[in-house]
Amino acid sequence: EAGVVQSPRYKIIEKKQPVAFWCNPISGHNTLYWYLQNLGQGPELLIRYENEEAVDDSQLPKDRFSAERLKGVDSTLKIQPAELGDSAVYLCASSLGVGEQFFGPGTRLTVL
């Protein structure tokens, strides 16, 4: 069975540019998470979806970050405009309800 797929794996952009990350969760997993992870730190939840509904986006900086999960499957996380401090690894995870989370490999974003 395929795991959580994320793309791209790496992205380098200049500040003020937009960027988007894509996630394909494990088939059948209704819960999808986007995390941000800085070097040497644990993941920080940005948003959690149950099917197509964002049930927890309290930590998402809504002035520049947006996310969507159309049809309750794939999800896209967007940053516009990107700032230097957004450089981090963006992780996507999925689960069956409240259960073991399966993570993708992440997208490493570098903002110059």
Binding site: V4, Y35, G40, Q41, G42, P43, E44, L45, E50, D56, L91, A93, G97, V98, E100, Q101, F102, F103, G104, P105, G106
Partner: protein
């Protein structure tokens, strides 16, 4: 929300048993304890989960005392490939508006030959 405290780093040697303890003094009745492992350039991977007493699977054991204010992840006979960061999480297993998992900085485990 229960907060967890773990050692920042630990060293051990191949073939030894490694125990990593996590403190969660404010754990709530509905909270479960979950441990994840993370290698560089990869997402975290689930290791084990428990509520009380002892849980064992093919890779680890989880010991939880009666007061549940701490838990210990035990890795038997570690190898170099167990070098990774280990995260202890405490979270409510019931879906409600307060459901949340707080990830700390984890414990960086280094296994030496």
């Amino acid at each position: 929300l229960a907060k967890t405290t773990q050692p920042i780093s630990m060293d051990s040697y191949e073939g030894q048993e490694v125990n990593i303890t996590c403190s969660h003094n404010n754990i709530a009745t509905n909270d479960y304890i979950t441990w994840y492992q993370q290698f560089p350039s990869q997402g975290p991977r689930f290791i084990i989960q428990g509520y009380k007493t002892k849980v064992t699977n093919e890779v680890a054991s989880l010991f939880i005392p009666a007061d549940r204010k701490s838990s210990t992840l035990s890795l038997p006979r570690v190898s170099l490939s167990d070098t990774a960061v280990y995260y202890c999480l405490v979270g409510d297993m019931e879906w409600d508006s307060n459901y949340q998992l707080i990830w700390g900085a984890g414990t960086k485990l280094i296994i030496k030959p």
